[in-house]
């Protein structure tokens, strides 16, 4: 229960002086829209601030002069990965204007200069490293340990909920967690491969195994063609077909980032001849969870019939290439 004590707000990750500075801006009627995105995998956070500083003519007395009493030097940000800023009208780059300056991972933003820009809307984006405990604490999740299986489809539910609302709920107009990575492994049992082989091919592979040990040249060729074709399982050529076997729901929140098919070593039964066959398919997913949603139900489904079609496609190539071989 509550493995980590996380108090305050994520805004304080920007530096101890920032929350009071933002508070002061609000008191001076500067409208600030604040957004934060936590990048789960890399333990980073990106803040986006929209400062509506109003028209130039009203700004001097109402904002600039009072603020100059409050801040005497540019604001400092530590451990910065990237920092950028621009104005919405005029599209001024705050770096080129010298308002944002960086030295290694330190950055300064000169708000006194920023407030003298013509545009009434300034956007500032800061990306920082985050305490690794925070992304882990923000999420509670459940992934089925016992996937559903109906012969044609196998699926696993993924359920996520946001925790530690004190860190993000009150302080941001928009908050989300991105790059939440999941990986699944589809273990391919030998029987699934055998099912993709027509009866004639099942007999042929056993005969080839037996004849191989006697030095039959056609059997050697058969085993080589068989193995070469099954090695296509981990080639780029079949990746689109394998991708087609995987469904993710909801599509807006989940996406496949990569597929890694791997081979396994088996033996031809009763013969002991080693052979390389498809072994597993590792699937990497990424998910995004919006703070407004608070929680999300997702699902990964593998269409085993389509997966069987991929194996049958390989078997069809084997049949075409080995038809003329004599295995006895």
């Amino acid at each position: 229960m509550a493995e980590v004590a996380l108090a305050g707000s994520l805004i304080s990750a920007l530096g101890s002086s920032i929350p009071s500075f933002l508070q002061k801006l609000s008191e001076l009627k500067v409208t600030i829209r604040k957004g934060a995105t936590v990048f789960y995998k890399s333990c980073e956070i990106e803040f986006v601030f929209h400062f509506n500083i109003g028209p130039m003519e009203s700004r001097l007395d109402s904002i600039i002069n009072p603020l100059k009493k409050f801040i005497t030097k540019p604001l400092e940000f530590d451990d910065v990965i990237t920092i950028d800023g621009y104005t919405l009208t005029g599209n001024d780059d705050l770096r080129k204007l010298g308002i944002i300056q960086t030295i290694k991972d330190k950055a300064t933003v000169d708000f006194a200069k920023l407030l003298e820009l013509k545009s009434d809307l300034v956007i500032l984006t800061v990306r920082k490293k985050l305490n690794p405990r925070i992304p882990a604490a923000l999420l509670s999740l459940h992934i089925d340990k016992n996937p559903e299986h109906d012969g044609k489809l196998t699926s696993s539910n993924i359920e996520l909920a946001l925790d530690y609302g004190n860190l993000w709920h009150k302080d941001f107009d928009h908050f989300d967690v991105k790059d939440i990575e999941f990986s699944f492994n589809l273990g391919i049992d030998l029987q699934t491969i055998v099912k993709a082989l027509p009866t004639l091919q099942r007999k042929k592979i056993i005969n080839a195994g037996k004849s191989f040990t006697k030095g039959n040249r056609d059997a050697v060729t058969y085993i080589k063609i068989f193995s070469d074709n099954f090695l296509k399982f981990q080639s780029d050529e079949l990746e689109p077909d394998l991708m087609n076997c995987v469904y993710l729901e909801p599509k807006n929140n989940f996406q496949i980032t990569s597929l890694h098919p791997k081979m396994q070593t088996a033996e031809i039964a009763g013969v002991g001849q080693p052979i390389v066959l498809p072994g597993e398919m590792k699937i990497f997913l990424e998910c995004r969870l919006d703070g407004n949603d608070r929680a999300l139900k997702g699902k990964i489904t593998i269409d085993l019939e389509k997966f069987g079609d991929v194996l049958r496609k390989i078997v069809s190539s084997i049949e075409q290439e080995t038809g003329r071989l004599k295995l006895k």
Partner: protein, 261 residues
């Protein structure tokens, strides 16, 4: 308050013993809850209450007590209540676990009821009695092909037979595993051509009885024992017999989708 005040209620549809279960309810954030009470059954442990302050967690009550209470000042997000829990016993049968959430909106208390299923694999013998007599044995001993059926929803992994001798005369009965070369011609591919086959080794003469069962696990690593099948053995001449045990079980040979993080 209208009946459709609730925007979403969710709980993990099913879970194995000791598997994390997650649940939440969402309602209009403008409706301020003064208090939330969660009522749950024994054998459940609440592992986390979501978006509740540290102070609130100290005051919600015992996490195994069957009831926890969260007051308004400790809720960090309006319109949301969530928790994680697990069932930490191994049930004899699959069962449904019920939850009640009472949300106190000051003028009215709304009650939300939902449930999840605690699943497990349950192995049973299709035939509970087997008899082996010496006339069956001859020179070639056929395997004792046990038909098992999984009547539970959980997948069976790591299946091992075990025996319990209940009655013997001048006979020793035990189970031994031996490595053998595969001769089954119906197979095409095998992990290795050497297979470990459990065998019933019977030495002596006369009449013996023993029970055979299976130890197995689910995909969470929970351990189970199957019910027992009774075997009677009748040997007329003094000899040593080796009876291979093979099992045929539903839903073992299918691709297994497994989360790896």
């Amino acid at each position: 308050m209208s009946k459709d005040w609730i925007l979403e209620k969710h709980i993990s549809k099913k879970a194995l013993p000791n598997e994390n279960i997650i649940s939440w309810i969402k309602w209009d954030p403008n409706l301020v809850a003064k208090k939330i009470i969660l009522k749950f059954e024994p054998d459940l442990i609440i592992t986390k209450v979501l978006n509740v302050s540290e102070e609130g967690l100290k005051n919600i009550g015992e996490l195994q007590s069957g009831k926890i209470t969260i007051n308004q000042e400790h809720m960090q997000i309006p319109g949301f209540f969530g928790f994680t829990c697990l069932y930490n016993a191994v049930p004899e049968n699959e069962r449904t676990i019920n939850f009640i959430v009472e949300v106190d909106f000051d003028d009215t208390i709304q009650k939300v009821e939902y449930s999840t299923k605690i699943i497990r694999p349950i192995l049973k013998f299709e035939q509970a009695e087997y008899t082996l007599t010496s006339s069956q044995f001859g020179n070639i001993v056929n395997p004792l092909d046990l038909k098992l059926v999984n009547v539970g929803s959980g997948r069976v992994v790591n299946l091992h037979p075990f025996a319990k001798v209940t009655k013997t005369t001048d006979m020793e009965i035990k189970i031994q595993t031996k490595q053998e070369e595969i001769k089954d011609e119906s197979l095409v591919f095998v992990k290795t051509n050497q297979i470990t086959i459990p065998k019933i080794i019977v030495t002596g003469i006369g009449y013996g009885m023993f029970s055979l069962g299976y130890e197995y696990e689910d995909t969470m690593g929970n351990s189970y024992k199957s019910e027992l099948a009774n075997l009677s053995i009748n040997i007329e001449e003094k000899q040593t017999l080796q009876v291979p045990i093979t099992e045929n079980i539903s839903r073992l040979s299918t691709p297994l989708l497994k989360a790896t993080v």
